[in-house]
C-alpha cells in the first residue's frame, strides 16, 4: 500500500528502513540527534540513537530538537521526487546542497552545537531520506 508524502506514516516507514537496512546505517557510524523536519506548517520530529531511527512524531516544540530543516512543501516534494527518480538524491537535491546553496532549505537551530550535529551526521541523515526510494510513495 502506498504511503503518502508528507505524512507521519512516511517518517514511520523511513524509521523502519533503518532497521531493514541496518548494515548500511551501521557502516555510516553512530548517529545521535533529535531533529525536526518542517514541511510548510507541519513539524515532524525524528530521533536517532546509535545507528537507528528510534522515534518519529508530530512535534509541537522545536526547542527540544537539535536543529530543524525547514522548507516549503513544494521543495520537499521536489527533493523526494528526485530521490525516487535517481534511487537517492542527485547532487542538486542532497540536504547539504539544499541548505548550502542559496538557502533553499533553512537549517534552524537554537545554538551552534545543535547546528553542528547536522553536519556531524550528514551522511546518515541523507541516507535516511534516500531510503524513500524503497517505498511505494504517493506524493501529495
Amino acid at each position: 500500500m502506498a504511503v503518502r508524502f508528507p505524512s507521519l506514516e512516511f517518517f514511520q516507514a523511513l524509521k523502519q528502513r533503518t532497521v531493514d537496512d541496518k548494515a548500511r546505517f551501521e557502516k555510516l557510524g553512530y548517529c545521535d540527534t533529535a531533529f525536526g523536519v518542517r514541511i510548510g506548517a507541519e513539524l515532524y520530529g525524528v530521533a536517532f540513537e546509535v545507528y537507528e531511527c528510534t522515534r518519529v512524531w508530530r512535534a509541537a516544540d522545536a526547542g527540544e530538537l537539535d536543529f530543524v530543516l525547514e522548507a516549503p512543501p513544494e521543495l520537499w516534494r521536489e527533493m523526494v521526487a528526485a530521490i525516487l527518480r535517481n534511487k537517492g538524491a542527485d547532487a542538486a537535491h542532497t540536504l547539504n546542497t539544499l541548505t548550502h546553496v542559496g538557502d533553499r532549505m533553512k537549517l534552524v537551530a537554537q545554538d551552534a552545537e545543535g547546528e553542528d550535529k547536522y553536519y556531524r551526521f550528514m551522511a546518515s541523515l541523507q541516507e535516511f531520506f534516500d531510503q524513500a526510494h524503497n517505498l511505494q510513495l504517493e506524493i501529495a
Partner: protein, 363 residues
C-alpha cells in the same frame, strides 16, 4: 641522549633474588589489590558497545580529577595505584581546564565509528570520464592542494600537544590521536583526489602557510585548540559542504560530505573545550581573543588569496556565490565563538571589514 634507567636491573641482586623466588613458586602478590570504587562498567546501550563514558564511573570518572594535577607525572594510567619512585615523563600540560571537554570521549568513539577509507569508499570511477571541464578540474585540484597542507599541519598540531599532556587526561589524548588520524585521512583523500587519473597538485599558498604557522606555533594548548579546532576547522567544514554542494559527480559529493563530517568533530571539541576553559578561567578570554585576532588576520590572507578565491569562483559559477559562501561560513564561525564564551568577535575581527569589502564587490 637516551634516558638511562637509574638501576641496572639485570645485575641488581635484589631484583635477581625476587625473580628466583617467583621461579621457585613463592608469590608475593603485593600487586593484587582492588583499587577504585566498584561500578558496573558495562555497555549502557548494547548496540553502541562498551564506551569510555560507560567505564568513566566511580573513582575512575574524570569529574574526580583536580583542576591541577600534582600527584602523577608518570606514565601511570588514571586510577592505578602509584608506587613510590615512578619516573616523571615531564608533562607540561597539567591543568584540567586547559584540555578538558565533556564531549571529548563521545567524539572519540564517534570518530572511530564514522570511519571511512578513501581507497575504497570514494567512488573514484565517477571521475571517469571527467564530469566537468578542465578549468573546473584544475580549480578542484588547487583547493585539494590546500586541504592536503591543512591535513598535514593539523596532524602536527595535535601531535605536538598530545605528548605534553598529563596521562590523567587520557580521553583528550585519545581524541588527539583520533584527530591525527582524521587529519591524515583528509590529507590522503585530497592528495588522491588531486592526482587521480593523470591529475596534478596545484601551487602552494604562502598565506595558507602563514595561517598554519600561526596555529602550529601557538604558545599554549588552549590557544592552539581555539585556533585549530574553532577557527581553522570552521572553514574546513564549510569547504567540505561547498565541495559537496558544487559537486558534479558522486565522488566529489562523497568527499565533500565526509570532509564536512570529520571537520565538525574538530569544531565540536573546540567549542566545548574553549567554553570549559573559560568557565574555569574567565580571565583567559582576553588572551584567547588576542590570539584569535592574529589567526583571523592570517585567515583573511588565505580567503583573499588568488589560489583560494579564484578556484572557488570557478567551481561556484561566479563571484557572488563565493561572497555568499564566505558570509555564511564566517557568520557560523562567529556564532560558534559566542557559544564558546568568546563573546561577539565580529566588531574586532579582521574578517568583518574583509567581508564588507566582498559584499561591496558582489552587489
Amino acid at each position: 641522549m637516551a634516558y638511562i634507567a637509574p638501576k641496572d636491573y639485570a645485575a641488581d641482586p635484589e631484583v635477581v633474588a625476587k625473580i628466583l623466588r617467583t621461579v621457585s613458586g613463592q608469590l608475593e602478590l603485593d600487586w593484587m589489590k582492588r583499587v577504585g570504587e566498584p561500578a558496573a562498567y558495562r555497555p549502557s546501550q548494547a548496540a553502541r558497545g562498551l564506551t569510555l563514558d560507560d567505564i568513566n564511573q566511580g573513582g575512575y570518572a574524570p569529574d574526580k580529577l583536580p583542576e591541577v594535577i600534582r600527584h602523577n607525572f608518570s606514565m601511570a594510567p588514571r586510577g592505578a595505584l602509584l608506587p613510590p619512585g615512578l619516573p616523571s615523563l615531564g608533562y607540561r600540560v597539567n591543568r584540567k581546564s586547559d584540555v578538558w571537554a565533556d564531549v571529548a570521549p563521545r567524539l572519540f568513539e564517534e570518530a572511530k565509528s564514522r570511519r571511512w577509507a578513501p581507497a575504497r569508499d570514494v567512488p573514484w570511477n565517477a571521475l571517469v570520464p571527467l564530469p566537468h571541464d578542465e578549468r573546473h578540474e584544475l580549480a578542484l585540484r588547487q583547493l585539494a592542494t590546500g586541504l592536503i597542507s591543512i591535513g598535514l599541519v593539523a596532524t602536527d598540531v595535535a601531535a605536538s600537544w598530545e605528548w605534553r599532556m598529563n596521562q590523567e587526561f587520557h580521553e583528550i589524548k585519545y581524541l588527539l590521536c583520533a584527530q591525527m588520524f582524521d587529519a591524515a585521512r583528509i590529507s590522503e583523500a585530497f592528495r588522491k583526489r588531486a592526482l587521480f587519473g593523470g591529475g596534478s597538485l596545484g601551487v602552494d599558498s604562502r598565506p595558507l602557510g602563514e595561517l598554519l604557522k600561526s596555529i602550529f606555533l601557538s604558545d599554549t594548548y588552549p590557544e592552539a585548540s581555539a585556533a585549530m579546532n574553532l577557527t581553522l576547522f570552521s572553514v574546513v567544514q564549510a569547504l567540505g559542504r561547498h565541495w559537496a554542494a558544487t559537486a558534479s559527480n558522486p565522488a566529489d559529493t562523497y568527499l565533500g560530505t565526509q570532509l564536512a563530517q570529520d571537520a565538525t568533530r574538530f569544531v565540536s571539541y573546540g567549542v566545548d573545550h574553549v567554553r570549559s576553559h573559560l568557565r574555569a578561567r574567565p580571565q583567559q578570554a582576553e588572551t584567547l581573543g588576542e590570539h584569535l585576532d592574529l589567526v583571523e588576520n592570517a585567515l583573511v590572507g588565505v580567503l583573499g588569496a588568488p589560489e583560494t578565491i579564484e578556484p572557488l569562483v570557478l567551481v561556484s559559477g561566479g563571484f557572488a556565490p563565493v561572497a555568499g559562501f564566505y558570509a555564511r561560513t564566517l557568520d557560523q564561525y562567529f556564532r560558534r565563538c559566542a557559544a564558546a564564551g568568546l563573546g561577539d568577535r565580529r566588531d574586532a575581527s579582521a574578517l568583518t571589514p574583509f567581508l564588507r569589502m566582498l559584499e561591496g564587490d558582489a552587489s
